[in-house]
Amino acid sequence: MNGAHDMGGMHGFGPVVREEDEPLWHADWERTVYGMQRAIRARGIINIDESRHGIERMPPAEYLAASYYERWLSSLERNLVDKGIIGEDELVTRTAELAEHPQTPLPQRDDPELRRLMTDQPSGQELYQREGPAPRFAAGDRVVTRNVHPTGHTRLPRYARGKRGTVHAVHGCYILPDAHAHGRGEQPQPMYTVSFEGAELWGPSWEPRERVYIDLWESYLEPNTEESGA
């Protein structure tokens, strides 16, 4: 979706501000949110693509106003409510109760199964790579990205749509985020790293000798027939 999250090439955010000796967390609740996210992911309740799409579905003004872990919290709430695991009314009621009685202790429970799930995590290969169709493109092939504007989740950034590039690497098949974020299964596809010249993406007036490399699924790409054999 053409959301506020798709930021590549936007202007106006100012300089990159760094914090000296930055702590891992800026507040306890950030660590709480990070922990819940890891627990829910380890249980396989929300997959990574649903999680990202939950953030993207924040209304743009809310997205831009929220901190990083606030966006994670928003996505957790949204996905857990969508999946019927938590009722929206439960969240409202519990928040109000805790506001009224902030000293209420959290319920205690041990969970050896959760400990096992969180410490023996599947590998990235097991989580994201799959057997699938043979790749249509090879390294060095000229391709053009589709000029598409899906309303759902995609990993084709807006700044790289309808652009000519070159296949830099072929990575085998990966779960398709566009399907996986919407409960439409894994639909694995060949995934490629595609390189784009800076001038193709930004016009000739930007910076010299720049290339941008983006990981793109096969359905995002078409052969660049205009330049085939060139």
Binding site: G14, G124, Y128
Partner: protein, 209 residues
């Protein structure tokens, strides 16, 4: 939390978002889906074990073992597994005198956490995510890194589950250093690509000698 307004750091009073987090946590505990104790233990272990020192080991090994470097650049996931960082999908890109690499995630904040730990806030900032792809040289200049126009800048927008790590150039004057001493020079920022590795310790040592 303090400061940093205007870059999405926080808009609501912290108590409101902290309350929401606590409300969700208490509901998830009641439903048998999480446990504060277990999660706290797992995260504490993560905080101890995972950080830029892991990536620095990979870089120092690549600097001292040419065969490892070849394997690392060909198949990052398999090569970092040799050093005990198995399970991560990693691609390593090499800086040279004529090529400088920079890693970003414009769509969210994907980061090679298995090797670098949790990302710094600036990496997740809207300014970095928006600008790194359109004006990487300007961004690098803000980090104090001025690259001549003759150097090609390659920006890696991490849009898949592959995570990119920059293999920085080994600084001159570090020939006599051990792998461990080299690892101590490698910074997080150099492995993201916003800095070069400085031979600080080595230079000081040489000056003394």
């Amino acid at each position: 939390m303090s400061g940093n307004h205007g870059d999405g750091h926080h808009s609501h009073p912290e108590s409101a978002v902290a309350l929401r987090a606590r409300a969700l946590e208490s509901l998830l505990i009641e439903k048998g889906l999480t446990s504060s104790e277990v999660v706290d233990q797992v995260i504490s272990a993560y905080e101890q074990d995972v950080g830029p020192h892991n990536g620095a080991k990979v870089v120092a090994r690549a600097w001292t073992d040419p065969a490892f470097k070849v394997r690392l650049l060909a198949d990052g996931s398999a090569a970092v597994a040799e050093l005990g960082f198995g399970g991560a999908l990693i691609a390593v890109v090499e800086n040279t005198p004529s090529v400088h690499n920079l890693v970003v995630c414009t769509l969210c904040s994907c980061y090679p956490s298995a090797l670098l730990g949790l990302p710094p806030t600036w990496y997740k900032s809207f300014a970095y995510r928006s600008r790194a792809v359109i004006e990487p040289r300007a961004v690098l200049r803000e980090f104090g890194l001025e690259l001549p126009d003759s150097v090609e800048v390659r920006v890696w927008d991490s849009s898949s589950e592959l995570r990119y790590l920059v293999l920085p150039e080994r600084p001159a004057g570090t020939e006599g250093l051990s792998e461990e001493e080299l690892a101590a020079l490698v910074t997080r920022d150099a492995m993201i690509g916003v800095a070069k590795v400085q031979a600080t310790a080595a230079t000081a040592g040489q000056a003394a000698g």
